[in-house]
């Protein structure tokens, strides 16, 4: 059984190779502020450029907060990331969902960037802890999440 994956696409002006490069090597520059998981603001978000590479953020003091790992590194067309942040936004090496990025050339220049986050049913695994921590101090993102869910009410 599976929950339908999350799919988003955006078109950018850059060619696939450049789009791939910006996506991977400039993560700290484009990732929205407050949408990361470390306790302190990030100064770097790193996806090591090879299969098996780590995916993490680093704060100004050098503390690394792990997000997951690189499952496939295939520039300029494809990047497969393992998202290992569970439903509490905590890194869990035993938890993994896949985020697949593809970079396809568009006629006339530019790239169609497609994101697919799948295996979402796996988030259910630690949901009890997740619910229990609702009253505790969650990182920013989870607070956003709670706010967002409430707004849906």
């Amino acid at each position: 059984m599976s929950i339908a994956p999350i799919v988003h696409t955006v078109q950018v002006k850059a060619a696939p190779a450049r789009a791939f490069e910006i996506f991977t090597s400039r993560m700290q520059d484009w990732w929205p502020n407050g949408k990361t998981v470390g306790k302190k603001p990030h100064v770097a978000i790193v996806a090591e450029p090879h299969e098996g590479g780590r995916w993490f953020e680093r704060d100004a003091e050098g503390t690394e907060t792990h997000w997951g790992k690189v499952l496939a590194w295939e520039p300029p067309a494809r990047l497969l990331l393992g998202w290992q942040l569970n439903s509490q936004w905590t890194f869990d090496p035993d938890f993994i969902t896949e985020v697949e990025m593809t970079f396809a050339p568009v006629a006339g220049g530019g790239t169609l960037v497609r994101l697919e986050h799948r295996n979402l049913e796996r988030f259910g695994a630690d949901a009890e802890k997740h619910a229990a921590s609702l009253n505790g101090g969650w990182p920013t993102l989870l607070a956003d999440f709670a706010k967002y869910t409430d707004n849906q009410a």
Binding site: W31, F123, A127, Q152
Partner: protein, 112 residues
């Protein structure tokens, strides 16, 4: 009155391993309580109880078919659970596109 289902409620309902197993079975194929109990090491009343929780969380619905009640996935609870992550990625990807285009433009302007 239409009940609203929150992501938190849905995730909490799936926290129990047996309940998750039941949910996964229902997802594979709409089933009656008896069908579900046969494939799992839990009693029929226990399965009924889990189904009740899943139903309250908006994850399954029941429809009567003759003398049986058939359980199937309820898209509402699942939708709530996905929504927040969906929003997250939408924000992140658009931020990426804006940044990438900004880079492309500044590069184009340089030769002036």
């Amino acid at each position: 009155m239409a009940k609203h289902y929150t992501a938190t409620e849905s995730l909490a309902a799936l926290g129990d391993p047996t309940r998750r197993a039941i949910f996964e079975r229902v997802a594979t194929r709409p089933s009656a309580v008896g069908d579900l109990a046969r494939g799992l090491p839990v009693s029929r009343p226990a399965v009924s109880q889990h189904l009740k929780v899943l139903k309250e969380a908006g994850l399954v619905t029941e429809t009567p078919e003759g003398t049986r009640r058939i359980y199937r996935l309820d898209p509402r609870g699942i939708a709530a659970m996905r929504d927040w992550l969906d929003q997250y990625w939408s924000t992140a990807l658009h931020a990426f596109a804006a940044f990438a285009d900004e880079q492309a433009e500044s590069k184009e302007e340089k030769p002036k």
